[in-house]
């Protein structure tokens, strides 16, 4: 139907109609700020990242080793039994190649988020991070990758203390 209409009646809205307030509207910019207590499990995880190590936890009941750590096993609903240091390398479980920014503008260099099954943790357990130093066309599920850490002096106890994971042979 619209294909038959050559010229729409009326006038389109321009940005100036808003800036000159010819169109009435109300704006609100929320000031919502939070600071989450890390607590026991996440607190230790972040402290270890600052030291350049990845730590997980183990449940003796279901015999899973999981990362990031938590104080309870969500399957068995009992306290975790021990802290376990894990390797800083692993295998890509799944990945995506993200070509858009937050405003959906195209990215020149795509980001490559990936779930990396960390060596030492149970099958299927991994952490979410980015892949780097790799051609997006070369990334494969099952690829071995290793953490590229920030220098010790720059680490603050955050997931970004690892810059990204890069392929190893």
């Amino acid at each position: 139907m619209t294909a038959k209409i050559k010229e729409f009646p009326g006038v389109g809205l321009r940005e100036s109609d808003f800036t000159e307030r010819k169109v009435l509207f109300t704006e609100w910019k929320p000031d919502a700020r939070y600071a989450w207590d890390a607590g026991v499990a996440i607190g230790r995880y972040l402290a270890e990242l600052k030291e350049g190590r990845i730590i997980g936890v183990r449940c003796h009941h279901c015999r899973r080793t999981v990362v990031p750590p938590r104080i309870f096993c969500e399957w068995c609903f009992r306290p975790m039994d021990e802290w376990v240091y894990l390797e800083d390398h692993g295998v890509v479980n799944t990945f995506s190649i993200c070509y858009v920014q937050w405003d959906m503008e195209r990215l020149e260099e795509p980001l490559i988020p990936a779930v990396i099954e960390i060596a030492g943790a149970s099958k299927g357990v991994g952490i979410l991070h980015l892949l780097g130093e790799v051609d997006p066309r070369e990334v494969k599920i099952g690829m071995k990758v290793k953490a590229v850490w920030k220098p010790a002096a720059e680490r603050i106890g955050a997931i970004t203390d690892i810059r990204y994971f890069k392929p190893i042979n």
Binding site: W28, P30, D31, A32, R33, G39, R70, F72, W75
Partner: protein
């Protein structure tokens, strides 16, 4: 009075101004472990459904219901979240059992208020963006407007409101769970800095962190699992029109209607005679008085006089907030109503310790969703 669904387990954690040692998940886990142990149930095997209470803006995480199953033992089980008062969540859990859909259901509510850096901004976010927010007044003025009109219409005095603060903070001294117990005088309240006239700093309940979990069961399972099941006798909830321009500033009609629904269900005609005590919202001092009147625990305009007479003290004729209420225990955001209900359970079990009331059989809990709402829920329990 129906005796179909009972509370068979309660667990709680926190109730402190700050809880930096634990994450919200760890706080919830602690409360859940205690509740399940108290009920004698294994959540992975026995609990069929979980209801949590959370508001995304206070959590700082959208679609927060995704973040609750792990620490409650609820992974791969029916879970849903109520964005309402803790008692709204409790009633949702109760109804699941009442319908026969589930036999054992857990309900959880928590507060990590200390993690919100801009709490008054979050509160302002609940105001109308066109009519009210552009005035840029801190939303506590809404409590000031209501308190002013309530005092004027009923003849209640600021001194009587201050007595509520003194009573509740005093009760809190005998409650090990309470974060804000204190021995203060009426003058302390009257002389504390004015926040929004006639509401002073000490008329307001300070915020606290905490988590509460309760386990509900259908009659047969409840009798099998628990020596002291606490029966749910009546529930009710109600929302008034929201408008700040033409709401009733004197009467808490939402509270009156919510209570009438619960009283009708419980077969209660004269609440002040048939109930033994009440744990009711006291987010602000005058709210306890206004809610007492709306809940028909006294006649309109008489609540202030009852407080003056000491009738609502722990040793009084009709104790109100023996736990210390939010003024004494701390305001737990949307978990506040569940904290009120927790005290009713502990009192009816005879487990309230130093502030135990004698010979109590039936108690009322009432929760208000806080500023700027006209939303409340009531629950009546008996042993």
């Amino acid at each position: 009075m129906p005796k179909e669904v009972a509370i068979i387990g309660v667990g709680y954690a926190g109730f402190r101004a700050l809880t930096p040692e634990v994450s919200y998940k760890e706080l919830m886990y602690e409360a859940a472990v205690k509740a399940y142990e108290d009920a004698g149930v294994d959540p992975r095997r026995d609990i069929e459904s979980f209801v949590t209470v959370a508001e995304d803006f206070t959590e700082g995480t959208s679609i927060f219901d995704e973040y609750v199953p792990d620490q409650l033992g609820a992974v791969l089980k029916p879970v849903h979240t109520i964005s309402g008062e803790g008692l709204h969540g409790f009633i949702a859990a109760y109804l699941q059992v009442l319908t026969g859909a589930m036999d054992i259901v857990a309900v959880e509510a928590h507060s990590k208020a200390s993690n919100i850096l801009t709490p008054d901004e979050i509160m302002a976010f609940a105001m109308d963006p066109v009519y009210n927010r552009p005035l840029r007044a801190n939303p506590h003025f809404i409590a000031g407007l209501e308190m002013n009109r309530y005092l004027c219409e009923t003849g209640t005095t600021r001194e009587q409101c201050a007595l509520v603060v003194a009573k509740n903070k005093h009760n809190a001294l005998y409650n090990p769970l309470a974060a804000y117990g204190a021995s203060i005088a009426v003058e302390d309240v009257l002389e504390s800095e004015m926040v929004s006239y006639p509401l002073s700093r000490l008329d307001m309940s300070p915020r606290a962190d905490g988590a509460i979990v309760m386990v509900l069961a259908a009659r047969e399972r409840a009798e099998e699992l628990s020596d002291i099941p606490i029966w749910i006798r009546g529930v009710g909830w109600c929302n008034d029109s929201f408008s700040l321009e033409n709401r009733d500033w004197t009467n808490a009609i939402y509270a009156a209607r919510a209570a009438e629904m619960a009283y009708r269900m419980a077969g209660i005609r004269t609440p002040w005679q048939e109930l033994d005590f009440a744990e009711i919202d006291d987010t602000f001092s005058y709210k306890e008085l206004q809610h007492m009147e709306a809940l028909r625990l006294c006649r309109p305009g008489e609540a202030g006089l009852l407080v003056e007479d000491g009738a609502t003290e722990i040793g009084g004729e009709f104790p109100v907030n023996p736990s210390g209420g939010s003024l004494g225990m701390g305001h737990l955001l949307d978990a506040s109503g569940l904290a009120r209900l927790l005290e009713v359970v502990l009192q009816l079990r005879g487990e309230a310790g130093q502030h135990q009331l004698s010979d109590v059989e039936t108690g009322l809990a009432f929760g208000w969703r806080g500023l700027p709402t006209t939303s409340g829920a009531a629950v009546i329990l008996s042993n």
